[in-house]
Each structure stands twice: as structure tokens, then as C-alpha cells.
């Protein structure tokens, strides 16, 4: 495994116990310039992880708590009038950072969500008539609470598609929770130090390009995405009535990049089907729109994805 990655994981482990999937997802997002949507109940170390990652990489991090009365200018910034010299100055919003934790994104109204999602895609912000490029890396980790569904503004499918992966964060194991409890009681969490720089991260991103992926696996990725759009073409009649809309082209791109990043994080120089299998659920679960019939039956997108993986022959 890459020594820098090992070092980074070791440093993160000082502040975050367990949650390996979330850390791995964030690293994949960082390496691939993607954004991560996290669904999980409160208290699963989402903020801690972002903060620890920013410290370990020497990056800036900010957190926005999304509320129903939030305005776009509250996140992107605004032009401020100065009555003393009768001039306007730009006040940049919290978006101007490297790592942004958008907490409970679905509590903000659609215009705020749209403003954020535009920035996520364009990686630039326009305030008044002035456009500002965001510094790289720029990663948004947005969270959603699956429990509270009252008074929320569900993200539309087009905007969900902007997220590279959707991670479902679960509670830690009992052993991990015992460790967290003891460390919290004795203030035993270590101080995270910057072990990598922004340049190191750019280097790692460049190294990612060198990870080989076979043509057959590329075709396999395309087939997997294609199966979500036209299941019957892949002998998946059992789920054809369950899917209303399949995954977009962004899904193919993100699955391709995520599989490579996963292989890279595992210290491999090539992508294997297992790397694709390891990230496909995270990449596709928010991109497939289930039919009413499937939702009525209580089906989840993860089941559809599992069926596709099981059915399509691997190279």
C-alpha cells in the first residue's frame, strides 16, 4: 500500500475510531475530486472525520448547518456596502474552503441546495459580477438524517447525481464503541497532525491515473450501468418493473474513478472486479429511481444493485 495513504489512515485513526467505510469513501472522494453524501443518524463522527482529514492534509474545513431559513448568500457570500467610503466589498461565504461539511443538507430550501450543488459541479462561485475559482481540492460532505423526515426538502434526482457516492454510515461495532467511550472519558483522542500536504494530495491524484483497468472491466462497468437502464437486455426481467430511471452517465464515470481509487487505496496497481463490487453500491444507490411498485414492496436500491451484480457475469 502507498506509504502516504498508510500514514494518512494512521493519523486519522488517532481521532476517529472505526468508520472505515466513511474514511475510505472520503479518501476516494478526495482522490477523484468527487463529493460525498452521507446518510446516517447523528453522532457517528461525521464532523470529527472531516476535521481530522483537513488537519491531516493541512487543508481548510468548514461546516454549515443547513436550516430552512438559510439563504444562498449565507453559503456563497455577498457584496457588502461600506457606507464610509461608499463602496462595495465582497464577503466570501463558508464555501470558500477545501473540505465542507454540509450538515443536514435536506433541511435547506431548494434555492440553497441548488446554489451549493452548482458550486459542487462548477467549482467556482459568482458573487455580484465577480467569479471566484475555488481552491483545489474541494470536497463537500453533505449529510442527511434518515430518521427525521418532517420539514425536510428532499434533494431532487438531478442534484443527487452530483454526488459521487452516497455512504450509509452505520453504528460502530461494540468493540469500537467501547474504545470510543473510554477515549472520550479520558480525553484519550490523539491530536491529529498534518502528515500530508496539498501537493502530496495532488501527487496521489496523479498516481491514481497510473492504476490500470482492463478493457473488459471497463465494458463490465458500462454493462452494469446499462443494466440499471434496461434490465431486460441483461436478462434481469425480475427487476425491470422495479426501476423507473436508471443511472446517468455520471454514474459510469464515477464508478470507473471510484473503482480505480479503491484499488489504489488497497495498494494495487490494477482494478479487479472486486474493486468495482466494493464501490458500486455507494456509487449507484442514490442514482437509481425505484418505481412506485418497488417502493410499495419495500424494496431498496441496494437490492436492485445486488441483483445486477449477481446476474451480470464478471470478466
Amino acid at each position: 500500500m502507498n506509504t502516504k495513504i498508510t500514514l494518512l489512515k494512521k493519523e486519522l485513526a488517532k481521532a476517529v475510531v472505526g468508520q472505515k467505510d466513511m474514511i475510505e469513501g472520503l479518501l476516494v472522494g478526495l482522490l477523484c475530486d468527487g463529493h460525498i453524501l452521507v446518510e446516517g443518524v447523528p453522532g457517528l463522527a461525521k464532523t470529527t472525520t472531516i476535521n481530522a482529514l483537513s488537519k491531516a492534509l493541512g487543508l481548510d474545513s468548514k461546516r454549515i448547518q443547513f436550516t430552512p431559513d438559510l439563504l444562498p448568500s449565507d453559503i456563497i457570500g455577498a457584496q457588502i456596502y461600506n457606507p464610509q467610503d461608499h463602496s462595495f466589498s465582497i464577503k466570501k461565504g463558508p464555501l470558500f474552503t477545501h473540505l465542507l461539511l454540509a450538515d443536514e443538507i435536506n433541511r435547506a430550501p431548494a434555492k440553497v441546495q441548488s446554489a451549493l450543488l452548482e458550486v459542487m459541479q462548477e467549482r467556482q462561485v459568482t458573487i455580484a459580477e465577480e467569479t471566484f475559482k475555488l481552491e483545489t481540492p474541494f470536497l463537500v460532505m453533505a449529510t442527511q438524517n434518515p430518521i427525521e423526515q418532517e420539514g425536510v426538502y428532499a434533494l431532487p434526482e438531478a442534484q443527487l447525481d452530483r454526488f459521487m457516492m452516497k455512504l450509509v454510515v452505520k453504528h460502530n461495532s461494540q468493540e469500537d464503541e467501547l474504545d470510543i467511550m473510554r477515549k472520550a472519558a479520558t480525553k484519550g483522542f490523539g491530536e491529529v497532525e498534518a502528515v500530508l500536504t496539498k501537493e502530496d494530495l495532488h501527487t496521489l491524484q496523479k498516481e491514481l491515473y497510473t492504476v490500470h483497468i482492463d478493457e473488459e472491466l471497463e465494458l463490465y462497468i458500462v454493462q452494469l450501468i446499462g443494466a440499471t437502464r434496461d434490465p431486460n437486455a441483461f436478462d434481469l426481467e425480475s427487476i425491470s418493473s422495479c426501476i423507473m430511471f436508471g443511472a446517468s452517465p455520471r454514474a459510469s464515470i464515477d464508478l470507473y474513478k471510484a473503482a480505480k481509487a479503491h484499488a489504489f487505496l488497497e495498494g494495487k496497481t490494477f482494478v479487479s472486479p472486486a474493486d468495482i463490487g466494493a464501490v458500486i453500491h455507494n456509487v449507484l444507490r442514490h442514482r437509481i429511481v425505484l418505481s412506485y411498485e418497488a417502493r410499495a414492496k419495500g424494496m431498496r436500491t441496494d437490492e436492485v444493485i445486488s441483483t445486477i451484480v449477481e446476474t451480470l457475469p464478471i470478466p
Binding site: K20, D21, S272, P273, A274, I276, G277, A278, I280, H281, D302, I305, S306, T307, V309, E310, L312, P313, I314
Partner: protein, 377 residues
């Protein structure tokens, strides 16, 4: 001829004419040799002989255990100073052998003035009839009473009828039974005419007696109201009552033939009075039955829950869909697909081994990898 002569002599003996002071009297008995309880008619005629006085008489038979008597008639011819009185009695001798009929006669002498005063005065000034009473001693009259044939219950000329309306009843339901005895003779009365044989229950009442005494004897109509009951079917033995007719001097039987009664079976529960008859005292163990019932239900519920839990575990382990899928995998690629589709980090090791075997030079035992994966479920 000899018999006729004897009867003539007896009649003469029974016809006694006696002369006493101031009056004469004569007794007549129609039979001086009666059977026990045979009717005997006694007549007494008193004739005043002293016409100077006013005579009054009181006559009666003396009470005696040897006979019963009843005055049938008293006829007085009350002409002035010439009293003539005729008495007629019905007598039943009750003992065999010689019995004496004893009499009481009171002669009352009064005057015309006394008679006249006794009819005068008013309500507050009554003067009684003043008489001079004299007891007259009359000689007793002897009867030679003959014994009855052995076993005779009734004496006279009787007929017997009975009434029995039903022969079928429920257990302990009374079966009414009535016997009527009619005829002339000594009143046919018994404490019970039912036979002693038989285990059934007898209900009896005093017999209802209608009897009229006449100069020919007593005309009787006696009814015996009875009832019988039993829990089972039974038979009333025949009733035979021996009677003797003194006129013909022959015995005969008054009889009721044997009667069978059918008792229907009735469930005992229906015989109990559920309202007024309290249930027999017994220890109430219903609380224990209830408690045991609750314990059984609780135990059954608890065991069902346990069994359900065990069954669920067993089903989960043995029938886990992935378990079957892994078993059905025939090659490494299929198994890799199945494990990849689970999105479960527990299978990372198995996936790595399969990949090493498929795309590298690693060697694995497919069944062993399957088993490893199944053990993780």
C-alpha cells in the same frame, strides 16, 4: 223340620213381655244367635198402665265393649195419661260367646200442673218440669254370639271396585289408587287394605265412610284413597279381603288383581331443584383449576415463544438466502459475484482469495471458501 222348631223356640225366647209398676214393656230381638258383627235389631215397646199419673221415660243401652249399638228410631204416642213408646236399636255384637245387653230405663212421674207450668212463664221466669225420677231395673238380654270363619275381615254383603287411572309414571311420582267397598253389613273399615309385600312406597289416608243405619243393617259406601310410588318399576300384589255373609253363612273374597307399574327412567339432574335445594357442601377447588389453567396457558405461551425463537434462529441459519446462493455456486466467478453483490465487508477475505485465484496465481479450495463464507452468516 228340626231346624224350624229350634228357630221357633228362639223367637219365643226373644219375645219377652214384662209387667212393671205403672207401665208394661216388651223386648223383641230378631236374632239371639248372631255372628260377630252381624246386625241384630232390638225393639222395645213401653205401655203406660197407670192412667192417673203423667209418665215420661228415658231409655238407652248401656255402653259395653262387647257390642256396638245405634238407635234407629223412637216413636212416641203421647196421648193424655197413656204414654206408648217404641224404641228400635241396631246392635253389632263384637265378641263371641255369651254377651249381655244391659239397659237403662228412667221413669219420670209428674203432675198435670207441673206440665202446665212448664209451658208457662216468660223468658226470664222459666219453670222447669218437675218430675219424680225412678230408675227401673231391667233384666239384661243375652245373645249367644257365634264366631266368624278364620281370617274374616268384613261381615256383610259387600262388593269391591277399584280405580287405577295410570300404570306409568316417573320415579317417585305418585300413582293414585282407589278402592271402593259398598254393601250392607258391619262397616268395612281397615287401617290398610294394601298388602305388606313389595318395596314400593304407600301413601294412605283415612277411608272416606258413608254409612246409613237401617232396620236391615248398615248400608256402607267406603272408599280407600291411596297412592303408590317407587323409583323403579314394580308390581302391586293382588289384594284379597276375606268377607263373610251371615245371611248365607258363606265366606267370599273381595279382590283386586295384581297390578304392574312401569316407572320411566329420568335423569337425576332433572329431578334436583336447582332453585331451592342448595348444592351439597363440597370443597371449592375451582381456584386451583383456574390457577393450573393459567399456568398451563402461560407455560404454553412461554414455550411457544421459545420454540418460535429457536425455529427462527434455525431457519435463519439454515435458510438464509445467501447460504443457499453460496451453496449453489458452481465456480469461483459465480461465488465472487455473489459475495460482491452483498456489499458486506465480512467477505473481503474470501473475495481477495477468489480474486487471487482467478486473476493471479493463488490456489484455493472452492468448497473451503464457500464454507468460510457460510460460517460468517
Amino acid at each position: 223340620m228340626k231346624n224350624n222348631l229350634g228357630k221357633t223356640i228362639l223367637f219365643l225366647l226373644a219375645f219377652v213381655v214384662l209387667q212393671a209398676e205403672d207401665f208394661s214393656y216388651d223386648f223383641k230381638v230378631d236374632n239371639t244367635h248372631p255372628y260377630v258383627k252381624e246386625a241384630v235389631i232390638l225393639t222395645l215397646d213401653i205401655q203406660q198402665t197407670n192412667k192417673d199419673v203423667v209418665l215420661l221415660f228415658n231409655f238407652d243401652l248401656k255402653e259395653n265393649d262387647n257390642y256396638q249399638f245405634q238407635r234407629l228410631n223412637t216413636l212416641e204416642t203421647d196421648s193424655y195419661h197413656n204414654a206408648q213408646i217404641h224404641y228400635e236399636y241396631l246392635i253389632y255384637p263384637l265378641k263371641t260367646g255369651e254377651i249381655s245387653l244391659e239397659f237403662e230405663l228412667l221413669k219420670k212421674i209428674t203432675t198435670d200442673e207441673s206440665v202446665a207450668y212448664s209451658f208457662s212463664g216468660d223468658r226470664d221466669n222459666i219453670k222447669g218440669l218437675v218430675t219424680t225420677d225412678t230408675k227401673v231395673s231391667l233384666p239384661p238380654l243375652t245373645l249367644q254370639v257365634k264366631s266368624l270363619p278364620e281370617g274374616t275381615l268384613f261381615v256383610g254383603d259387600f262388593t269391591l271396585t277399584h280405580q287405577l287411572k295410570i300404570h306409568t309414571a316417573k320415579p317417585y311420582e305418585p300413582l293414585p289408587f282407589q278402592v271402593y267397598i259398598e254393601g250392607q253389613g258391619y262397616p268395612p273399615l281397615l287401617n290398610s287394605i294394601l298388602p305388606q309385600e313389595g318395596a314400593f312406597t304407600r301413601f294412605t289416608e283415612h277411608p272416606l265412610v258413608k254409612s246409613v243405619a237401617t232396620s236391615k243393617g248398615t248400608q256402607n259406601a267406603v272408599s280407600y284413597p291411596m297412592a303408590l310410588s317407587h323409583s323403579k318399576s314394580f308390581t302391586l300384589p293382588s289384594i284379597k279381603l276375606k268377607a263373610f255373609n251371615p245371611k248365607t253363612e258363606k265366606s267370599y273374597f273381595l279382590s283386586v288383581p295384581s297390578q304392574h307399574f312401569d316407572i320411566e327412567e329420568v335423569p337425576k339432574d332433572t329431578l334436583l331443584d336447582s332453585l331451592d335445594t342448595p348444592k351439597p357442601f363440597s370443597m371449592d377447588w375451582s381456584w386451583l383449576a383456574n390457577l393450573l389453567g393459567y399456568l398451563v396457558v402461560f407455560g404454553a405461551g412461554y414455550l411457544t415463544a421459545l420454540a418460535w425463537k429457536w425455529q427462527k434462529k434455525k431457519v435463519q441459519k439454515s435458510l438464509h438466502p445467501l447460504h443457499e446462493k453460496i451453496t449453489n455456486c458452481k465456480d469461483k466467478k459465480t461465488l465472487l459475484q455473489v459475495l460482491m453483490a452483498t456489499d458486506d465487508k465480512r467477505f473481503t477475505s474470501s473475495i481477495e482469495k477468489l480474486e487471487a485465484s482467478l486473476y493471479g496465481d493463488g490456489k484455493i479450495n472452492l468448497n473451503k471458501v464457500k464454507q468460510e463464507a457460510q460460517d460468517l452468516l
